[in-house]
Symmetry: C2
């Protein structure tokens, strides 16, 4: 063994995936596997099926025996290959996770997910510490919402942003062709990063989206109608990006208010969040409002829905590469000593675009939410051009379009 | 002038685009321009803005002066570069078109669109004939619905089919990851070709979509619930493709029934068709039904909407090439004599994939609708594997995905 190298604790590794899938979450999975494979001290690298659920139910799949070409194909496949889970483990649940780990002699745990997943890592890690059981817990970031603290951006975001940008480029051309008002609803509960990405394909002042509403700003229906009316009068058309997470000044989501108004049972997940995606109600409501209040005839709405996070064939190459690196980095860190943490992507420079992968404390990421910097928001209804400087290197080249 | 060559009538050409845009309708536009440019007898190639509307309002743009690199960029851009129109000209409107043509000395008219556009060509052409005014009218096919008679398939369909197939591949992986029922609503009023394309990415018996509902079959709500229940019990999940055009056994669209039930004003276009796209109501209704009647908790619906026809970066190469060829063929035909017609794509062989571009009579295409062959429909709720033989060469290679 080389000097300065810490002795590895002998035991198995578990890697899991949690929360909403992304186009590159399997890159991180493969990164973890590649970072660990070949270590004599780690006989098995186990994937847990459907996140923490697979741990407590002992549903594991061996990952170190998979051929490298199959691993590469898995890496390139969107959505969580191991399956995902929306379970939010409390202390008792984490205890069961820990029991399962002891039984399987698991000494390395990697959880790929958002801020809730980092919290799971944190609690399991503390249980291990208080029991003097050596367990190296690492959180690998992933979320299309791009809302993790300590990170410049998160794996999964750029590919979803690319989808949103390309969708808006096409939709704006469609709207030029058959003018009217077009509303597109985009994922994002608290953070407007993905909705803001709708601006990336704009090339001129008349290109849409002409209005962008993010959850960082309280949504005012009257102001919205005034905005739409002004744009429509000026351009004869109006393309609008709306985050599914828009809420009133009491922080109540507009989508939840609408669902309640229509007498629907409001669905909540295990984190207490009202279900926003998987329904067209918000777009339909805003469209009907414009028709009835502004008297505009051709008003359409689309809700991008789950396509944003899982569409095959629209992955950002930078995103794919960084997601792989984040997984590998977590594995490397776990092999350096009895430490824990979350891997964070931090930007070193814009031009040339360079990032660094760093270990940060689990508690600095767990359960916290990062939102759009106010400097990116213009007039409460648009996104500034300097957001492009931030986003463009992550997404890469967009298709070239030309108008007559 | 070479022997056997028909003398060209001296005059200008007009080319227009009509109906819903596609990803390759500009390829056909550029094909027409390239097919005509350089003919001394045709001093001007004019594009009419927003279809027939641009003709009667004399809003023309000169296309023969555009540099070839810009033309290529336009060809690669989705949506109608000239703008489109939903106007359905009656005899009086066609009279005004003809008047505008005479004023501009237009002797060549190309209209890129669906079956309504071919009908416009037909009427204008008859007016010219009865006035002894030499006018060569050609219809160039386009529609994502793939519902034109005399055609094996139509330009625009394959790119939309590619989008639908890739969306379902990703969405099925997403549904594997977080199991439940997922409904996706796809464009198509009378023909189920685009909805059927949802099957193209299936690789195994457990891959979704597990159920496919096309407008060729009357939709029965009870049968639908039975189908979903059976699939969900078998697989623990269910991915469903539903055409927006599904209707009851009285031919009334389900979407229109739902809109009326909810007290909404039903919107109709100038062709008398009820507006189906641009709303999530159908998916939401079917989802609520499954929740309440089958007691399944995780039920989501997405309506693919306008993304299907205009998304940038998901064009089929075969589609792009054929759309260009269809435009060129129309130009070539118009230069061969005082004839009219519609260009049709007919398949010569499946393997190797080969097609021929032929002139057919306008009246054989005008106002008619082609639907899915019954042999493609299985058990009234699915699409047969032999539809793949038909569709695969049009779409080209799909991204490779892999599961664990």
């Amino acid at each position: 063994m080389a000097k300065n190298k810490v002795a590895l604790v002998q035991g198995n590794a578990v890697v899991g995936q949690s929360g909403g899938p992304t186009a590159v979450i399997n890159q991180s999975l493969v990164g973890v596997v590649q970072g660990l494979v070949g270590n004599r001290e780690i006989p098995k690298i186990l994937g847990c099926r459907h996140g923490v659920k697979g741990i407590v139910e002992e549903k594991y799949v061996e990952l170190n025996t998979i051929a490298s070409d199959q691993l590469e194909r898995i890496a390139q496949t969107p959505s969580s290959a191991l399956g995902s889970s929306r379970d939010k483990p409390d202390a008792a649940y984490c205890g069961r996770i820990f029991d399962s780990f002891k039984k399987q002699n698991v000494r390395y745990f990697f959880y790929i997910g958002g801020n809730d997943s980092s919290d799971t890592c944190r609690i399991v890690n503390e249980l291990a510490k208080s029991s003097n059981y050596e367990l190296r817990c690492f959180h690998v970031p992933k979320t299309i919402d791009n809302d993790l603290m300590e990170n410049d951006h998160t794996p999964g975001f750029a590919s979803a942003a690319k989808f949103v940008a390309q969708a808006f480029m096409g939709d704006d051309l469609d709207n030029r062709s058959l003018p009217g008002v077009k509303i597109n609803i985009i994922m994002g509960r608290h953070a407007g990063f993905l909705t803001a990405a709708s601006m990336l394909g704009r090339r001129s002042e008349t290109d849409g989206p002409h209005l962008i509403y993010v959850p960082e700003v309280s949504f005012d229906v009257d102001k919205f109608l005034t905005d739409v009316d002004a744009t429509y009068k000026k351009l004869g058309r109006c393309v609008i990006a709306v985050s599914e997470g828009i809420h009133d000044d009491q922080k109540k989501p507009i989508a939840a208010k609408l669902a309640e108004m229509s007498g629907k049972q409001v669905e909540r997940d295990s984190h207490g969040n009202v279900q926003l995606s998987g329904s067209g109600v918000l777009g339909d409501f805003l469209g009907d409002l414009i028709k009835s209040k502004l008297g505009i005839k051709r008003v359409r709405s689309d809700t991008f829905g789950y396509l944003q996070r899982s569409f095959v064939g629209c992955t950002s190459l930078v995103d794919a590469k960084e997601a792989r690196m984040a997984g590998k980095k977590a594995a490397q860190l776990a092999l350096t000593g009895n430490i824990d943490g979350s891997v964070a992507i931090q930007r070193v420079s814009d031009e040339p675009y360079r990032v660094a992968f760093k270990r940060v404390e689990l508690s600095d990421v767990a359960g916290k939410t990062r939102v759009l910097d106010p400097s990116f928001i213009v007039n409460n209804n648009n996104i500034s051009e300097n957001f492009r400087t931030y986003l463009a290197p992550l997404v890469g080249k967009l298709p070239v379009v030309e108008t007559l």
